[in-house]
Symmetry: C2
Subunit: 467 residues, 2 copies
């Protein structure tokens, strides 16, 4: 039995890929990924048309998809996140049918329930053996966890591993199992290390972000959740990560031993693990080099699949045990609905990722965001796109105070003696508009270019083309 | 979300178990298992009838099943191995319908293909957290690998973890994932440590067995397979394990670096791993305490599921890369067919386990067995039961010489200058019969009490009731 094929082209031919099929990719190589482009060039040159791209996320480096859409190679895209040139082109209506946006938990659920059928998965693997046992921790293009690739490896009809570093059989640990793999292709490089993970994730020095982070950490302090066994997730951006810094001080002061940190993992959470603030990290994706080296060396830093992270079809998932999540927003409205899909001008710049999953499952979901960016207000009458419904958001923390969602009267009661700067969201909106004015409503076309499907499979909003 | 239930009875009720359903158990606690009996007592007292037991193996400790069969609680059994009182009772015709025997690779394939549907899996776990993340390495009833339980945890409708040691969430590593688990029940003890694994697996001192083992090791030496990258599996019994001892000397002499040891793992293979004879162990089941402590501490000692071990539906499996397997036999015939299901009197005393899987997939499958036991000859005209077809057996090694299956002319050519004591299997048979005489054919009834299904799902033989 020989699974090694000499090149990507042959693997495409051997996979039986035909017009109209669905192919999948993961995004663990982030903006450094070479694999999607390499595969798509070969598919294009083979004359295969009308494919659906089922990708856990797409970044600016995948801009070549624009040409493949124009030439009819790609006719449909489903993903959890999209940024850069491809997102911009789609916002301008380049695709006939709407993109389907899912969440990081919704995608594995759709795959498991067979609503999404993947014909061929092309899975970049920093390390593989000749039979396809693969992980993301070893090799020159190490990216750490392969959490988002695991559901594809379990359910796709054909699985092709594309690696740049072959290891002797049997490779361990095996995030992707040989039992699922059809072919293995070795290429020179699967990605650009500079784009795969950032060297170190730095905490912001912006005083406004730090103020927001401090408020958020204090909200957690008085929420009733910060006690032994505490669990926590935060994003890697702006104020989100800074919350971790303040939270650590508070945990030290109160001598709280947390149970686990979750999610996309940064060096900051790795430090907290090593210093005993958490017992374990559950890692679906590594954001920086410290996280990558930790997941290889530290058995308490555990890789989990997207299914184990956030799938609503799992009997429980890591997010089921999550106390607090700190998330961002590009827009919010006074019903606490959050937009993380588009910017203020309606252009797609992101997607839910794990936003809506963690907001729904955690005991306390906190949005941290400045009240305005480049004179554009955060809080609007109506968000361009509902990425996460307001009913799943518990608090908004800004530089001028903390708005608690009125449906969380229990939280309001809990923190009432804490001297936190609590303020109604409507007042935050009014405050902002004194500086920024009320922005003009932007005019969008009537053409739906993307549908937002919630994790349970229901379309909850539509994104329209910009004109 | 609370998965913890106060007792087994409540878990049965909550699982929705009804008359006629299928329930599953694994055999990692071997003859020390308490869980199957505890569950069956509660099921019986709830008045549920007509169940199918889908067990990876059954041992003498499960003799209480006899009463449950008589009372109508259990009407059908499917398993890979069966010994002791329950096997004896079934050999005497206690069940109306035949037992279905599968192999360790055939069982996960039947589960994956949905030919076998498990309604409720009751999975003993030496360590679990409150959400059902479970492993076999920790806790007072540690058994090591949970390889045979993993397919059940992935495919059963309801999964109930029964543990005697709860660990803080999140437990890692998680052989069974919380995403698959419905309920967790803590009991006082899931098994008797003395029955779960033997303290240390000792190598035989019987001179006949040692002679056989030495011949077998020499056959491997000259087979052309003993070179860097060599992989090896052996059973834990009699001469099989002694082969390892001689093989180790030869590997040292020839300076061969093996790639992996496979299968049910003993301390002897653990020593070879630690001394650098192998790069890794792939472990579907631990046979002794050394193996249990090694799988916990040594990342090169890797747990694999039954699917990854030997399932024919896997795109590749560990056995696909296996060079040599050394196996036992209770009977053989001159076509090299092997019986490991019944003893000479026709009573069920075992089953294929991984016998037929490894014989089929390995490059060289060697049977080691003495020519007679208690004056009963090994080689007979026709085996009572074909457990592994002769076409998958390459050699029989006995104290009087080595018989090579004539279909392996390539092997005969390879070893022709090696001065091994090669002898036709017919001559071995004649030699034996000079001592033992030709045994009388035993008379069996016409009632089929067990069907042997090969790993591909085909019934290849039938075992008849003894009278």
């Amino acid at each position: 039995m020989n699974k090694i094929l000499p090149n990507i082209r042959e693997s495409i031919v051997k996979s039986g890929l035909k017009d109209g099929m669905t192919i999948s990719f993961h995004h663990h190589l982030r903006n450094g990924d070479y694999v999607l482009n390499m595969v798509m060039r070969e598919i294009a040159s083979l004359g295969i048309k009308n494919l659906t791209i089922q990708a856990s996320a797409l970044f600016d480096c995948h801009f070549e998809l624009i040409e493949h859409i124009k030439s009819g190679v790609v006719s449909h895209i489903e993903t959890n996140y999209m940024s850069g040139r491809i997102a911009n082109a789609i916002s301008h209506g380049i695709l006939k049918d709407p993109v389907v946006f899912r969440s990081h938990g919704g995608r594995p659920a759709a795959i498991k329930s067979r609503r999404v059928h993947i014909d061929v998965a092309f899975l970049a693997a920093p390390a593989s053996d000749k039979m396809g046992n693969s992980n993301g921790s070893l090799g020159k293009s190490a990216c750490g966890s392969l959490g988002y690739a695991i559901p594809d490896s379990e359910y796709a009809d054909k699985i092709i591993i594309i690696t740049d570093t072959l290891f002797p059989y049997p490779l361990f640990p095996a995030s992707i199992k040989e039992s699922n793999v059809d072919f293995v292709v070795k290429v020179d490089a699967i990605g650009n290390p500079e784009g795969i993970v950032s060297g170190t994730t730095r905490i912001t020095r912006d005083p406004i972000s730090l103020k927001i982070a401090e408020y958020a950490a204090n909200l957690i302090k008085y929420s009733g959740l910060l006690k032994d066994g505490f669990s926590f997730q935060t994003g890697a951006g702006g104020a989100s990560l800074a919350v971790t810094k303040y939270l650590k001080s508070i945990m030290k002061e109160l001598d709280v031993k947390g149970s686990f940190g979750l999610g996309g993992i940064t060096g900051y959470l790795v430090d907290m693990l090593n210093e005993g603030y958490f017992e374990a990290l559950q890692d679906v994706q590594c954001f920086d080099l410290l996280a990558v080296s930790s997941i290889m060396d530290n058995p308490r830093h555990v890789e989990i699949s997207a299914t184990e992270y956030a799938s609503p079809l799992s009997k429980s998932r890591a997010t089921s045990s999550l106390d607090v999540v700190v998330l961002g927003a590009t827009q919010m409205d006074t019903d606490f609905n959050v937009n993380v899909h588009t910017d203020s001008s309606g252009i797609i710049t992101g997607g839910s990722g794990g936003h809506s999953d963690t907001a729904e499952d955690s005991k306390l979901s906190i949005i941290v965001a400045p009240l305005f960016r480049a004179r554009l207000p955060l809080i609007v009458d109506k968000v361009q796109c509902i990425s996460t419904p307001g009913k799943h958001i518990d608090a908004l923390v800004t530089q001028r105070g903390i708005a608690i969602n009125p449906i969380r009267q229990d939280l309001i009661d809990t923190i009432k003696d804490a001297k936190l700067p609590i303020i109604p969201i409507e007042e935050l909106k009014n405050l902002t508009e004194k500086y920024t004015g009320v922005p003009d409503r932007i005019t969008l076309s009537k053409k739906c270019i993307a549908e937002v499907e919630n994790r349970h499979g229901k379309i909850i909003d539509c994104i329209f083309a910009v004109e």
